[in-house]
C-alpha cells in the first residue's frame, strides 16, 4: 500500500544551519508512527518541514502521492495535514471555542464546522465546560487536549504531533497518549515526534530513531523498545558510533591536560 506521507532524502535547515540530512521515512494510512530522538536531533524541524514552515534544501515530500515540497503552509493544511505544535502554541488570550474555530480556518462549510465543534466537545468534555474561558487559564493537560482538538477541527487525514508529553505530569502523559490511540481507532493517521521514547513506542505501530539529523534505526515499535540503539541515541551508552567520538574527545582532553602539566 502506498504510504500516506513519504519523505525521501529530505534535507533542510535554517539559513546556513543544516538540521536534517537525507531523511527517509514513510507513514501508512491508519498507523501511528513514532519519531524519537534526543533534543536537537531534528524532530521538530522535520515536522515543520512537512508543514512547509521550513524550506527544503533537498529531497522530496509526498502526501498521498502528491508532492508538497514547495507548497504553502495554508495549502498543506487545506490538503489534510494538521500539526499540534511543540508546547501547544495556543492563542492564550482567546477562548477555548475561538481556538477551536481557528483550527477550522481553512474550511468553508459553517454547518460542518459547527458539527466538528460538537464532535470535539464530545471527545473532550472538559473543553465544553471551559469553552468560554481563555486558553491560558487551562491546565497543562487541558491545553494539550485543546491543541489536539484544535488540530482535529480541520478534519485532517494526517496529524503531526510535536512532543505532546512536554511539560506534562506522568499521569497526564498517559491520558494524552491514550487519546492519541483513540484517534487511530477512529481512522486517523498519526506521526508523533517524541523525546519520551517509551511512551511513544508503547502506542506506535512503527518507529524511527533520529540522531543529528539522520535516521539511525527503524522498525516495529515493540522491537525498538528494547533496542540498545535507542538508549545509545540518548545517552551514548554501549552502542557503536556515538561512543567512538566520545572516546576520542576524552583522550584528547587527557592529552591536553598532560601537556599543561596536570596529573590525571
Amino acid at each position: 500500500m502506498k504510504p500516506l506521507l513519504e519523505l525521501q532524502g529530505v534535507s533542510s535547515g535554517y539559513g546556513r544551519i543544516r538540521v536534517l540530512d537525507g531523511v527517509t521515512l514513510a507513514v501508512k494510512a491508519g498507523e501511528i508512527v513514532a519519531l524519537i530522538g534526543a533534543n536537537g536531533a531534528g524532530k521538530s524541524t522535520l515536522l515543520n518541514t512537512v508543514m512547509g514552515m521550513v524550506a527544503l534544501s533537498g529531497g522530496e515530500i509526498r502526501f498521498d502521492g502528491n508532492s508538497i515540497a514547495r507548497t504553502s503552509t495554508a495549502a498543506i493544511v487545506g490538503s489534510g495535514i494538521a500539526q499540534v505544535p511543540e508546547r501547544r502554541q495556543l492563542f492564550g488570550t482567546m477562548t477555548v471555542e475561538e481556538n477551536l474555530r481557528l483550527g477550522a480556518y481553512t474550511r468553508g462549510d459553517r454547518a460542518g464546522v459547527a458539527a466538528s465543534l460538537e464532535e470535539q466537545f464530545g471527545q473532550f468534555p472538559i473543553l465544553r465546560e471551559r469553552r468560554t474561558q481563555s486558553a491560558q487559564t487551562l491546565s497543562g493537560g487541558e491545553q494539550q487536549m485543546l491543541a489536539i482538538a484544535r488540530a482535529m477541527m480541520s478534519r485532517p487525514r494526517l496529524m503531526l504531533l510535536d512532543e505532546p508529553s512536554l511539560g506534562l505530569a506522568p499521569l497526564m502523559v498517559a491520558r494524552i497518549f491514550k487519546q492519541i490511540t483513540s484517534l487511530r481507532a477512529a481512522g486517523g493517521t498519526i506521526l508523533v515526534v517524541e523525546q519520551n521514547a517509551r511512551a511513544a513506542l508503547d502506542i506506535a505501530d512503527r518507529g524511527y530513531v533520529i540522531e543529528n539529523g539522520r535516521i539511525t534505526a527503524e522498525g516495529e515499535a515493540a522491537a525498538l523498545l528494547d533496542n540498545a540503539v535507542v538508549q545509545d541515541a540518548y545517552l551514548g551508552g554501549s552502542g557503536g558510533s556515538l561512543r567512538a567520538m566520545e572516546q576520542r574527545i576524552r583522550a584528547k582532553r587527557r592529552e591536553i591536560m598532560a601537556a599543561m602539566g596536570y596529573i590525571e
Binding site: 503552509t73 505544535p85 502554541q89 481557528l102 480556518y105
Partner: protein
C-alpha cells in the same frame, strides 16, 4: 467654571476626540499585526476630508463624495502596505517606521499639489442647524460624527470578535507562527488591516470636515494626537486607545477654553512627553523579558 461652559467645551472635544480615537485604533491595529507604527495614519484622515470636500465642491452628491473618500483611504492603506512595507518586512523596525514617514510626506505633498494650500470646506450633511444637549449648543453634524464613529467602532469590534477573518487577525497578533499552522495567510491579513485602518481614517476625516475644515497639512498633528491615545494602551489595547483618543480631544478642548489657544497644543504634547518619560516601566526591557536562545 459653570456647567454650561464645561459642556460647551467637553462635547465638541468629544467630537474631535472621535477622530483621534479612530486614528488611535488604526495605530493599534496596524501595530498588532505588522509591528510597525504607521506614521501615515493621520494622512488617511486628511485625505478623506480633503478629497470628500473637493468632490462635494465639484458638485458630487455628498454620499458619493464620502464613499469615494472612504474607498480612497482604504486603497491608500493597501498601496502603502503592498508597495512600501511588504518589501521590507525583515528590516529593523526603525527603518520601517521611517518609510511610513516617507509615505506620509508623499501623501501630504500630493495633497498640496492637487488640492492647493487653502483649507477646503464641506457642507454639513444635514444642514447647518444646531441642537441643544446638556445646555451646550452643537451643530447637527456632531451627530453624524458621533454616529459614524460609533458605527465604525462597532463594525471593527464585530469584525474582530465574530468573523473568521477578524479572529484570524487577532490570532496573528498573538502568535503568528501558530496562526500559520492553522492555514492563515498572515500577509493577506496585514493587507486587510491596513485597508481597514485607511478606510476608517478617511471616513472619519470626511465626516469631521464640515466642522473643522480640511487642510493638506493637518495629517501630522492628527497622527500625533491619535498616537497619544494609542500609547496609553501600550499600543496593544484597542479599547484603551479609543478611550485615550477621546480623552485627548476633551483635554485639548478644555485647554483651549481655559488657556490661550496657542498653549493648548503645548499642554497636550507636554502631557504626552511627561507620560512617556514617567511611565517607562510599561515598556522597559526588564530582565524578565530577556531570555537567550531557544526553549529548554
Amino acid at each position: 467654571m459653570d456647567f454650561q461652559t464645561l459642556a460647551q467645551l467637553v462635547l465638541p472635544g468629544l467630537t474631535t476626540g472621535c477622530v483621534y480615537a479612530l486614528i488611535a485604533l488604526g495605530f493599534v491595529l496596524c501595530f498588532n499585526v505588522s509591528g510597525v507604527v504607521n506614521m501615515a495614519q493621520g494622512e488617511f484622515v486628511m485625505l478623506g476630508g480633503l478629497l470628500g470636500a473637493w468632490l462635494a465642491i465639484k458638485g458630487v452628491p455628498l454620499i458619493a463624495a464620502v464613499f469615494v473618500a472612504t474607498m480612497a483611504g482604504a486603497l491608500l492603506g493597501v498601496l502603502q502596505e503592498r508597495l512600501t512595507l511588504a518589501p521590507v518586512r525583515r528590516s529593523p523596525a526603525f527603518i520601517q517606521i521611517t518609510i511610513t514617514l516617507g509615505v506620509a510626506v508623499i501623501v501630504r505633498g500630493i495633497a498640496l499639489i492637487q488640492f492647493g494650500k487653502d483649507p477646503l470646506a464641506m457642507p454639513a450633511f444635514s444642514g447647518d442647524d444646531t441642537f441643544d444637549l446638556l445646555s451646550a449648543v452643537l451643530p447637527i453634524q456632531t451627530l453624524w460624527v458621533w454616529g459614524t464613529t460609533a458605527a465604525m467602532l462597532f463594525g471593527i469590534y464585530y469584525f474582530l470578535q465574530h468573523t473568521d477573518i477578524g479572529r484570524a487577525v487577532r490570532a496573528c497578533s498573538i502568535n503568528v507562527v501558530a496562526a500559520r499552522l492553522m492555514g492563515v495567510n498572515a500577509e493577506r491579513l496585514t493587507l486587510v488591516v491596513y485597508a481597514i485602518a485607511g478606510g476608517t481614517g478617511a471616513l472619519a476625516g470626511a465626516v469631521i470636515t464640515p466642522v473643522v475644515l480640511a487642510s493638506w497639512d493637518a495629517g501630522f498633528v492628527y497622527a500625533l494626537k491619535g498616537f497619544i491615545g494609542a500609547i496609553l494602551g501600550g499600543l496593544r489595547s484597542p479599547v484603551v486607545a479609543v478611550l485615550g483618543g477621546l480623552g485627548v480631544g476633551v483635554a485639548e478642548s478644555l485647554s483651549a477654553g481655559y488657556l490661550s489657544s496657542g498653549w493648548k497644543d503645548a499642554i497636550v504634547y507636554g502631557l504626552l512627553l511627561a507620560f512617556l518619560m514617567i511611565r517607562g516601566g510599561v515598556f522597559l526591557y526588564g530582565r524578565a523579558s530577556l531570555t537567550a536562545g531557544g526553549g529548554h
